[in-house]
Symmetry: C2
Subunit: 115 residues, 2 copies
């Protein structure tokens, strides 16, 4: 029988990764967050155009991010009405993950092209 404490540690790591994936799942959540974290507040339409995400998907993803307190929604009293989305303070804690993924993706592309 194997070391039990390392099994527990392994399980914690396993769960931790799955927990993170559960919150930032899908093709778009990290892209949306990187835009909001790096470029600040965006309106719904701006975000749709900037990311290339269709309204249906964008709406769904923003809602899920809002539920997880990573994005906040503010209705502005403009004519016509506009809605501003911003990354929350809690989203800042994801910056480490986002930046690591950006760096890896950039490096990977260089590697692939170089081959």
């Amino acid at each position: 029988m194997k070391n039990k404490s390392s099994d527990i540690a392994c399980d914690n790591v396993h769960s931790a990764i799955q927990d993170t994936l559960y919150v930032v799942n899908g093709k778009w959540k990290l892209v949306i967050l990187s835009i909001l974290v790096n470029n600040g507040t965006k309106r719904f339409g701006e975000l749709s155009r900037a990311s290339g995400i269709s309204p249906r998907i964008l709406s769904k993803e923003l809602h899920e991010l809002e539920i997880n307190q990573l994005v906040s929604r503010k209705v502005c009293d403009t004519k016509p009405i506009t809605v501003e989305y911003s990354s929350t303070e809690y989203a800042e804690t994801l910056k480490e993950v986002i930046d690591a993924m950006i760096r890896w993706g950039q490096n990977h592309r260089r590697k692939i092209i170089g081959q």
Copy 2:
């Protein structure tokens, strides 16, 4: 008209994240990699039991990781035959991403439970 250089920068960031997601997509690839990176070489069956991934999925995921040079496969001349999977040197470059996700997941769990 908006600043063109920042549009390009934004697009690079966008693509970089999607490139990374393309390589480590799905529920399991980062879990598999974290096991191999942290615990070293594992056999197919060990990996299946350690991760709780069924043979069909594990086989598919390992194959995709192998194609992307993140995992190496070694057939051992044992009786019965066994197959060892290891993370490659290139997989080490993903450690930053994996570790950031582990830390975030652990922190997030603490936050959720605390609420």
